[in-house]
């Protein structure tokens, strides 16, 4: 699964960056993500991700690690976790980059991830589309929060 998106935000790059670098708040913009909290400042975080695909519910405690920061331009994070009851493992890497654009800024999102286990194999075909929807919604929420 791979999703790439560019999103124009009507706010200066600094404001967008500040919103991103508030990691718990930023992570909470991802639909289904809750209880985001800091474990080690600007390094490790936790969050709980819940997703439903029809009758199947995925509930994953995620470990989020900041892999790379080029302040105030880009941020790369890795997230992984496992739903023990479904036997599904989720792994994601996300890169967020901020650039100035026509007085506002542009956010580039590059997300790559996979779901391992039976769900991943079954949901092949469904997951890509769902991931696109999630990232789009993430962008909208983030934009709303920044432009707010």
């Amino acid at each position: 699964m791979r999703v790439e998106r560019d999103l124009d935000v009507a706010a200066p790059p600094e404001r967008l960056w500040a919103a991103l670098w508030d990691v718990p708040r930023m992570v909470a913009c991802l639909p289904g993500c809750a209880e985001a909290r800091e474990v080690e400042p600007q390094k490790r975080y936790e969050a709980h991700m819940s997703q439903r695909v029809g009758p199947i519910s995925l509930s994953v405690p995620m470990q989020v690690t900041i892999a790379d920061v080029v302040s105030p331009h880009s941020l790369a994070l890795e997230a992984k976790g496992r739903d023990g009851s479904l036997g599904a493992s989720v792994a994601m890497s996300v890169r967020l980059a901020v650039a100035p654009r026509d007085g506002g800024s542009r956010l580039r999102v590059e997300a790559e991830g996979k779901i391992l286990g039976k769900l991943g194999a079954l949901g092949h075909g469904v997951i890509q589309r769902r991931a696109e929807e999630l990232i789009d919604e993430f962008g909208l929420r983030l934009k709303r929060a920044v432009e707010g």
Partner: protein, 766 residues
């Protein structure tokens, strides 16, 4: 069936299968039907990662679940050698430190029932650290690619593989090289040189019965395993090594198999079942699901680069082959697959200058092993496609070009190797006739043909015992596994023929290594030839003893006596077997035991042994194409096999029909699809095998019977051959229909659709 050549009574007749009645009434018993008192049920936890370091495996909670009898992780396997494998002992019973493919077993549980075992597995905590994985040949062979294995594995039990040639520092676990003549010079002087690359996918056997084993230790430390295996003696030697036991302390018994196709050769689940039973201190049955089977073994996929050169007159000038076989995460028998198949790349053709190289390449995928055809289909797909490309370029008819290059009857395959034992041109002629090659195809249709010649396993040993009882009935003791191919019926026919008994007086005993004598394997189309000959010898041994007894009684030389209808006959005199035994033993008791051994031994050829016979099969397809969807329809298929003689014609036809349909599977649909190291279609919803609706409207199987086979009564092997020409025959037909040459299997509608869209050449419709 009247007037069969040779005047045989039972051989050559399509007698009813001896196991048919039990199979149509539901009374047939397979491994999954077996239960023992106190038996525990096993389940496995498998890795979700293609390649990962095992940081932590915590099974404590699983052990506490009531009803759990054994929980094993790699660290618990201190009581046995935890590695196994027939070629290399590189496969851990349970992943240790590293998992090398998605679906590799990590933890095994035996419990009072499957639900309890599943509950226990839910409580196992495993922490993985994902490692970069290689799931394609390109990834595995790239410079600096992640290594699937880093340690040096130990050689398995095949002496011809004791000198495995790994390429240090790479994922190549074995290389095979063979050279004859001078290819470079031959290429330089050739009129036409073709260089092409062909690809063959990962294929799942899908025998309807998945793997399974039931293991029980006795109080004296002996081990019995009931196993769904094609070669119980290989399983026995594997277990003997792992558990440091004498072969005599191990008993492998084999019930009926629900199909095998090579997937049940060599130890698969038996070692795990034995380890679990040892710890559980009770019998343990481990039954794979179909999903498990996808994670147990598969056909090796391949990328084959071929150089095929011709003289102006159509003679093949030279053949060079560079083949990479993707053998998955563990070697299984793949090194043998690649060298044996590569050695016969030239198939039925006379080629003076040959240079062959193949690599067995590890990847982070389900291990590749034996599968009907043993590597040959992967090569024949390319070679036979290129024969048609060559015919096109040389302006020759494909049948004609092949005929010109066929080896002659009695001609050595390679210097010092087994001479051709069939009349190849007769097979080709029968095929051309069957598919009316010389008649133009109807509009929208095209025909294609392909030929193949395959070696059987060598060296190779089969033994048989025939016991003639006091009442004149007989048991045949052989370790041939009945997996659907009908071997038990054929062995009974052979014994009954020689013993001059009706078929119902002969019973073939199921394989049991503590009772039935050695047989190497029920695979490689060898059973009728090798075991059949041993049975023939053993039965003849009994007949000779009978004649000797009769000679004593009659005062006539044994040589003048014959057997007929359960009696030794001399002119008008007739001595029934029970009377002969009565006379011999002086009572109604005792039995005559006959023995047969077939063991051709080693030779100085490239593989250390020479095939006891050549399996020859040719196939012709007539197809139509839905040009808009890319879907190919097989309108007619003819398969010709040279079997020397059909012991049971109906069963020969059944074998070949099944082979053709299985071949259509990998030709048109079948492929294990991986994405990011994950197998996406490990079930029958996503892995498409042929269905009843896929049977060509016309499906014909023909047999060349010249009585010139190395087996009993001039018979020889059948079973694999019919599958092998299918892909190139269909590919050749498609090329003739559309001008599009497919070089990758399966030829799914989408692949053909893409090829049609990329087509530059105009359609040529012969």
């Amino acid at each position: 069936m009247t007037g069969r050549p040779g005047g045989f009574r039972i051989v050559g007749q399509s007698v009813r299968r001896t196991d048919a009645l039990e199979k149509v009434t539901g009374r047939a018993r397979y491994l999954s039907d077996m239960e023992l008192p106190g038996m525990a049920h096993a389940r496995l936890l498998r890795s979700p990662y293609a390649h990962a370091r095992l940081l932590h495996v915590d099974v404590r909670a699983a052990r506490e679940v009531p009803g759990v009898h054994a929980v094993l992780a790699a660290s618990d396997l201190t009581f046995c050698d935890p590695f196994y494998g027939p070629a290399l002992r590189d496969r851990p019973l349970l992943a240790s430190e590293v998992v090398r493919y998605e679906g590799e077993p990590v933890v095994a549980v035996a419990a009072v029932d499957e639900a309890t075992a599943a509950e226990a597995l839910d409580l196992v905590e495993v922490e993985y650290e994902e490692l970069p994985a290689v799931t394609t040949l390109e990834e595995a062979l790239a410079p600096g690619a992640p290594r699937v294995h880093t340690a040096e594995p130990l050689a398995g039990h095949f002496s011809d593989l004791s000198s495995l040639r790994a390429k240090p520092g790479t994922n190549i676990c074995h290389q095979f090289d063979y050279t004859r003549g001078d290819v470079a010079t031959a290429l330089a002087g050739a009129h036409l040189v073709l260089e092409e690359t062909y690809r063959f996918p990962r294929i799942q056997h899908y025998s309807m019965e998945p793997h399974g084993a039931l293991a029980q230790w006795d109080d004296e430390g002996g081990l019995t395993v009931w196993a769904a295996t094609q070669n119980p003696f290989s399983v026995r030697s594997e277990l003997a090594k792992m558990f440091a036991l004498n072969a005599s302390r191990i008993r492998i018994a084999v019930p009926l198999l629900g199909g095998g196709f090579g997937g049940k050769t060599y130890a698969k689940l038996e070692p795990l079942a034995a380890a679990l039973a040892r710890v559980a201190r009770r019998p343990v049955r481990l039954l794979a699901s179909v999903e498990d089977a996808f994670r147990t073994v598969r056909r090796c996929s391949a990328r084959v680069r071929l150089t095929l050169a011709f003289h102006r007159d159509g003679r093949i000038a030279a053949l060079a082959c560079e083949a990479d076989f993707d053998i998955g995460a563990y070697a299984d028998i793949a090194p043998r697959v690649i060298q044996k198949a590569t050695y016969t790349t030239t198939g039925p053709y006379r080629v003076g200058h040959v240079k062959l190289h193949s690599n067995a390449v590890y990847t982070n995928t389900t291990p590749g092993g034996a599968f009907r055809g043993f590597g040959v289909p992967q090569l024949v797909w390319g070679v036979e496609s290129m024969m048609d490309v060559a015919a096109d370029r040389l302006g020759r008819d494909p049948v004609d070009l092949r005929r010109q290059n066929l080896l002659a009857h009695g001609e050595e395959f390679a210097p010092g190797d087994t001479p051709v034992d069939g009349k190849l041109e007769e097979s080709l002629g029968r095929l051309a006739e069957a598919i009316q090659w010389s008649a133009a195809a109807a509009p929208g249709r095209a025909k294609g043909i392909a030929a193949m010649m395959k070696a059987s396993v060598a060296p190779s040993v089969s033994e048989a015992i025939v016991r003639l009882h006091a009442d004149g009935s007989a048991n045949v003791l052989v370790s041939t596994v009945e997996m659907g191919q009908g071997a038990r019926t054929v062995m009974a026919q052979i014994a009954a023929e020689v013993l001059a008994l009706p078929l119902d007086r002969v019973r073939v005993v199921p394989p049991d290594t503590s009772i039935t004598p050695y047989d190497q394997t029920s695979s490689s189309s060898r059973s009728t030839t090798m075991v059949g000959r041993a049975v023939q010898e053993a039965a003849q041994d009994v007949v000779d003893q009978l004649r000797k007894i009769a000679a004593d009684m009659l005062g006539e030389p044994a040589a003048r006596l014959t057997v007929l209808d359960g009696a030794v006959v001399s002119g008008a005199q007739r001595l029934a077997y029970p009377d002969l035994l009565d006379h011999h033993f002086g009572m109604r008791g005792g039995e005559l035991i006959g023995r047969g051994v077939v063991a051709p031994g080693r030779t100085k050829t490239a593989l250390g042994g020479s095939t006891p016979f050549w399996e020859v099969a040719m196939g012709g397809a007539e197809i139509t194409l839905d040009e808009e969807t890319g879907a190919i329809a097989i309108e007619s298929y003819a398969s010709v096999s040279d079997v020397g003689r059909c012991i049971n014609p109906q069963q020969c036809a059944a074998q070949d029909e099944g082979a053709v349909m299985q071949g259509l599977g990998h030709t048109l649909f079948e492929e294990m699809v991986y994405e990011g190291g994950q197998l996406l279609n490990a079930d029958l919803a996503g892995y498409r095998v042929p269905r009843a609706g896929d049977v060509p409207p016309r499906l014909e199987t023909l047999f060349v019977e010249n009585g010139d086979g190395a087996g009993p009564f001039g018979a020889k092997g059948v079973g694999e051959g019919g599958l092998i020409p299918v892909s190139p025959a269909v590919g050749n037909a498609l090329a003739r229909l559309t001008g599009v040459r497919m070089r990758e299997l399966p030829m799914t509608p989408e692949r053909v659709w893409r090829a049609l869209r990329a087509r530059t050449r105009p359609t040529t419709n012969p």
